[in-house]
């Protein structure tokens, strides 16, 4: 294991400093056909750290996130999650995945199940929890995202913002060690974004390890311990939000920020 020399969490005093990184990506490459999307990424997220990944569309940030639980098969490189090499073919991927919560841009709730069933399904089948325990955990997490009264509703009866909060509660119901967010507010109407971000801020305050691919610069500045700027399949620049967003060193970062801020 390569020791991590500098982490933002040490500076902000968040999370255990001695522990192995929650996510450690080394030399990650991913090509689709002839199209190189990731060109040798080194990236890590420490325990309890909130890392926001920003960058123009097509920069590879979503692909990086999807590689972390192998929704995308890496072309080369290593990905270590809590000390477990998930690129190793011997690794029990399903077991590792129960420890990584993912929230998608398009929510991906199961439309044929009620909200409560959405939250209990994987708990029962993958975590082997009893019906009662699963329902209890589910209700606790629904309360957390402020949607207790929607337990028996179907996803299509909810607004986009509510669906995304249910998706967060669904991921949380597996008691994951970390949460990955893939542009969680990009598919939402502007007036619904706030509720979702509020839930994410709450999670960050509770010390959840988070990797957030986002276009919400306000969120990155306020909640992020570290901001990673990606462009063209490489990490161009990273550091605390004040530096990367407030005083970017690279031209590409400056150009991007001048367009979005």
């Amino acid at each position: 294991m390569i020791p991590v020399s500098h982490t933002a969490s040490e500076e902000t005093g968040r999370g255990p400093t001695a522990a192995a990184p929650a996510i450690e990506v080394r030399e990650l490459c991913k090509t689709f056909g002839t199209n190189a999307v990731l060109k040798g990424i080194d990236f890590h997220v420490d325990q309890g750290e909130v890392v926001c990944v920003i960058g123009p569309s097509g920069s590879g940030k979503s692909t990086l996130l999807r590689c972390v639980n192998r929704l995308e098969e890496p072309t080369s490189g290593t990905i270590v999650v809590e000390g477990i090499d998930i690129t190793d073919s011997e690794t029990d991927l399903d077991a590792v995945r129960t420890r990584i919560g993912i929230v998608f841009q398009q929510f991906n709730l199961f439309p044929h199940l009620t909200v409560l069933q959405n939250l209990t399904l994987a708990q029962r089948r993958a975590k082997k929890r009893g019906k009662r325990e699963a329902a209890e955990v589910a209700r606790k997490n629904l309360e957390k995202v402020g949607l207790s009264e929607k337990a028996d509703a179907f996803p299509t009866q909810l607004s986009g913002g509510q669906q995304q909060r249910v998706a967060i509660a669904r991921a949380l119901s597996m008691d994951p060690d970390m949460m990955l967010f893939d542009e969680p507010t990009s598919a939402l109407d502007p007036e619904l974004v706030g509720d979702v971000l509020e839930v994410m801020k709450q999670l960050a305050r509770e010390g959840m390890t988070m990797m957030v691919v986002t276009h919400e610069m306000g969120f990155a500045r306020e909640v992020g311990d570290r901001v990673v700027f990606m462009d063209g399949g490489v990490v161009v620049e990273q550091g605390v939000p004040e530096d990367v967003l407030g005083n970017p060193q690279h031209e590409r970062t400056q150009l991007f920020l001048s367009k979005v801020l």
Binding site: D94, R97, F104, N108, F110, H112, L121, A122, R125
Partner: protein, 261 residues
Amino acid sequence: MKRSTRRHLVQGVLYVVFIAVVLFVVLSADWGRIQPYFFNLDVAASLFPEIVLTAAKNTVIYTLIAFVGGVLLGLLLALMKLSPVLPYRWLATGYIELFRGLPALLVIFGFAYALPIALSWQPPGGSTGAGLIGLIIVSSAYIAETIRAGIEAVPKGQMEAARSLGLTPLWTMITVILPQAFRIITPPLTNELVIIIKDTSLLFIAGMALGDRELTVFARDGLTSTANATPLVIAALLYLVITLPLTQLVAKLERHNKRGR
């Protein structure tokens, strides 16, 4: 001529043609002969209750066996066709192309006669049972393609969300993909069911014991023994008594399922 006037004129002509055709049929038919030959109440009465208790009942039983068998085998073939294992895909494709390309009558005939000889095995239900195996084989080829299309119509994000929650591929298929796929294919699957109801009439080719007779064979025997076409008319009505409520029921189910979309 004004556009609306022209439209009224066209509609008027269509009505006149319709009425002329109906009048021609009614006036040219020899109702005096048709009534006793096709709608003979004495002959009709002599068919009951056997035509319901034996013939219609057998039609329903054969339909259920062929449909359930066809769906199970069709599901297996669909999964094989979507399998990453190449020989499975070949096998399923070959099977589907073969049995969709042959007349159902030929397949039923072949299985009814060849199976007992080839395998030295008498299927349960005698020659009718062997014919039913042929019917299952034929219907499964069509149903397999329907199910495959349904599985492919479920958005990719559903599989990703389920796998991210740690569900195994099998549980993902059973609890997330297939329930949605079957909702999508309810209309074409109903179609298959109605086709099977009618195709049970092909089982006659296998040769039937008296108690095994279904509607069409029963009516044909009635036609021969009474020298009257009324049994055919009664059989036709009974087919409709079976199919119409069924299509209504499925339409109702479909409306109900829309809730969970």
